[in-house]
């Protein structure tokens, strides 16, 4: 007996020593990780200090980012991967890495650019301003006023905050929204897998793959959070996880299962300072974990916690309220949610079978009663797109591959990033072992049904990509984690290559249009000057609509665009074609019954025209130059980035 137990004791001692060594190693890694997340944000700010966004080329932000910024992202990623590979998983420090990644990836433009980016941001500020001024919405102005939920909320927040404009919120909204998305994603992913590494890697992949840029100050940015929140609550409390398994069977199995099976290393019974810090930032209550445990027990699944009728009714009421708030806020997101809810219910994966019915009533009710103005004017166009899947795909894909060589490279980068993510996701769904493949596959596939409804102005594939991203990120992470487990040089290389590709692809894909998307103070001043001079009957012409426009007096002015004129498309570089365009602009600005006219040019318009190639490169810059040299126009505002011209009186011109 003694001779048999001695080696066992020896083996146990050796295992204990290995465990101690591993715990010490993990503690050291946690300390290094903490130091990295503390050090990176100030270093990142320093690295961006000398960036001049005006030097950007057609490939966008990556053309001006210094090497130091890339190096910081690489260091953060390496630290994240090291923490993922360590046992036990240090979730608090990993969470801090995710937060810093979100700030780095989504906040860079907020640091280097002078004012909020995107023309749409400024339009949204104008709608909010309209509501703040008038206290009402006018559905006859445009589609935004038929789904004004987001703008009403923004006006409400801005007024109560004592601010005169919502512009202060605009610059950092992408960082705010991307961080907001993390909580529901944790809920969804944690429900789908017991492996904490997959959860955090999926969030990392999500942040690196969310290149579609809908997280600016926009209805879709906020509605996407509500969409994720509804899915999180649904998946957490009302979705059967095992495909084909009923909730009752699942609950019975879980009740009979041994608690905390598959638990990894035995946790340290005396938590140190780092452990206590982890407990503070941990996203589960300490009481839910085994005593002394720092990492969450990778138990089969969280127990069903809706024990009382009050809880069931309360959570369902919250889901209905949040869904109801989404309906007046955005046209498309409620349809995406309806598609997912209906698919889950039809496939028997969700116990909330009446929920899609409620949404199916709310959506048309809003359209018929509150958005009737829009529907009356656009019904024919909307109806003609229903079922035209080929047209929707064509307008989303084919129409976008064009423009300058740099822009074509960016578009190819976007397609490559999307394809790689979907390939990884497919591999993860097929080869990975997430326990709720069916439910998450529904989350990833149901939004494709939106292709049947409409092209959404050629953006439907982008939006579908966004709605499917949580599931795609999860499955991709499930596949990538297998590479960590393999622990071979080849798998390590494959894993690193995938992360590097996602990060590089993100920077190219998301900020590829940045030369056109960014605005400067002087461009804003040019538009502001026009607003201060113009009368309600003034004619306002601009190179294109790509400028900070409509942020005030939203309803007062219509904009004529040079790039929409018939002579613009025939601009071939010859003097004749330029003269014809100049004559058309001149006629437009001397419209009878108008008290004044203004012509606005700015660098962002030139960049947009060059990037998307609506005419030979440099055409809009040549038109701007021709106007500046023409005796028919006089500059009333001029800076290095923008200019405003007015027509010279005919007698004066002579």
């Amino acid at each position: 007996m003694t001779s048999r137990t001695a080696p066992k004791a020896l083996i146990a001692d050796q295992a204990g020593e290995r465990e101690d060594a591993r715990t010490k190693g993990t503690n050291a890694l946690r300390l290094v990780g903490l130091a990295i997340v503390v050090a990176i944000p100030p270093l990142w700010l320093l690295s961006l200090r000398d960036v001049d966004p005006r030097q950007m080329t057609d490939v966008g932000l990556v053309s001006v980012l210094p090497l130091a910024t890339y190096a910081l992202i690489a260091v953060l990623t390496m630290s994240f991967v090291a923490l993922l590979a360590a046992r036990p998983l240090s979730q608090g420090v990993v969470l801090l890495h995710v937060v810093v990644l979100a700030v780095l990836l989504y906040g860079t433009t907020s640091v280097i650019e002078e004012i909020p980016r995107f023309a749409a941001t400024w339009r949204h500020l104008g709608i909010t301003d309209y509501i703040m001024r008038t206290g009402q919405v006018n559905p006859n102005i445009d589609a935004y006023f038929n789904w004004p939920g987001f703008f009403v909320l923004l006006a409400f927040l801005t007024k109560n905050a004592g601010l005169g404009s919502a512009v202060v919120f605009a610059k950092w909204t992408p960082v705010f929204f991307s961080l907001l998305y993390v909580a529901p994603l944790i809920v969804i992913f944690r429900r789908a897998t017991a492996d904490g590494r997959v959860v955090w890697l999926a969030i990392w992949v999500f942040l690196c793959a969310n290149w579609v840029g809908q997280d600016y100050l926009s209805p879709q940015g906020l509605s996407y959070f509500l969409y994720l929140a509804v899915l999180a609550l649904l998946v957490r409390f009302f979705v059967n996880l095992e495909p084909g398994g009923s909730l009752r069977t699942r609950l019975r199995l879980r009740r009979n299962a041994r608690p905390h099976q598959n638990v990894g290393p035995v946790p340290d019974p005396k938590p140190n300072l780092l452990d206590r810090m982890e407990a503070y930032v941990h996203l589960e209550r300490p009481a839910e974990r085994p005593a002394g445990s720092i990492t969450p027990s990778p138990r089969p699944a969280p127990p069903e916690t809706l024990e009382s009728p009050l809880q069931r009714v309360g959570v369902m009421a919250a889901i209905i309220i949040v869904s109801a708030a989404m309906v007046p806020a955005h046209q498309l997101t409620p349809f995406a949610l309806l598609a997912v809810l209906a698919a889950l219910a039809v496939l028997g994966l969700s116990t909330a079978r009446r929920l899609p019915v409620i949404l199916a009533v709310l959506i048309p009710a809003w359209m018929l009663f509150m958005a009737s103005s829009y529907l009356a004017g656009h019904f024919g166009g909307l109806a003609s797109e229903v079922g035209d899947v080929g047209g929707a795909v064509g307008s989303s894909l084919g129409a976008r591959v064009g423009g300058s060589p740099g822009h074509v490279a960016v578009v190819i980068g976007r397609l490559a990033l999307t394809s790689v993510l979907w390939l990884l996701a497919t591999a993860g769904a097929v080869r990975g072992r997430p326990r709720s493949t069916a439910s998450l596959a529904v989350l990833g596939l149901a939004p494709f049904s939106l292709l049947v409804i409409q092209s959404y102005g050629g953006e439907i594939l982008l939006r579908i990509y966004l709605f499917t991203l949580p599931a795609a990120a999860f499955f991709a992470a499930a596949f990538l984690v297998r590479l960590i487990d393999t622990r071979t040089v080849r798998s390590a290389l494959a894993f690193s290559s995938a992360l590097v590709f996602l990060l590089a692809g993100f920077l190219v894909a998301r900020y590829g249009n940045e030369r056109a998307d960014l605005f400067t103070h002087s461009e804003l001043n040019a538009v502001d000057s026009v607003y201060s001079w113009a009368q309600p009957d003034s004619v306002i012409v601009a190179g294109s609509e790509n400028m900070p426009w409509k942020f005030k007096k939203y309803e007062e002015y219509d904009l004529e665009k040079v790039t929409d004129l018939t002579t613009w498309s025939k601009l071939a570089g010859s003097r004749d074609s330029m003269n014809r365009l100049m004559n058309q602009i001149d006629r437009l600005m001397r419209r009878p019954n108008s008290s004044s006219a203004f012509l606005i040019f700015m660098d962002s318009q030139v960049a947009e025209a060059d990037l998307f190639g609506s005419a030979p490169r440099g055409s809009l810059a040549r038109v701007w130059e021709a106007v500046a040299l023409s005796p028919r126009f006089r500059a009333v505002y001029s800076s290095s980035d923008a200019a405003v011209f007015v027509p010279v009186r005919r007698d004066a011109a002579r």
Partner: protein, 117 residues
């Protein structure tokens, strides 16, 4: 002993009181904006979510923020479509929701605490 901390409802009440103070005294926007935005994005939903005792911080955080945003939007939208646009009335309604829910939470917390002791 089951111990349900009173810190949440107490925090909700304190935050609500601070928000009411800065709104009704007309504090400068630089002080008022962060307090009000944080209140409107978290407090009403958090106070209601806490009543459900869901026991998972990520779930509670998700539900609290989503519910707050939804309630803000629904209250503001209802006032606007009723022709009674008044951000201050809307704020008062949400303040009442947060305070009443926090008071119920506090009462339940105290009851459980007393019983367990």
């Amino acid at each position: 002993m089951r111990y349900l901390p009173i810190v949440w409802p107490a925090s909700a009440v304190v935050w609500s009181a601070t928000a009411a103070l800065v709104v009704f005294t007309g504090a400068t926007p630089s002080v008022r904006a962060p307090i009000i935005v944080a209140f409107l994005l978290v407090c009403p939903g958090l106070a209601l979510t806490r009543l459900l005792r869901l026991g998972d911080l990520a779930v509670e955080l998700t539900m609290a923020i989503a519910l707050s945003i939804a309630l803000d939007g629904l209250v503001a939208g209802s006032l606007l479509y009723a022709g009674e646009w008044s951000p201050r009335i809307g704020f008062t309604v949400l303040l009442a929701v947060a305070v009443v829910a926090a008071a119920i939470d506090a009462a339940r917390t105290r009851r459980v605490w007393v019983i367990d002791r």
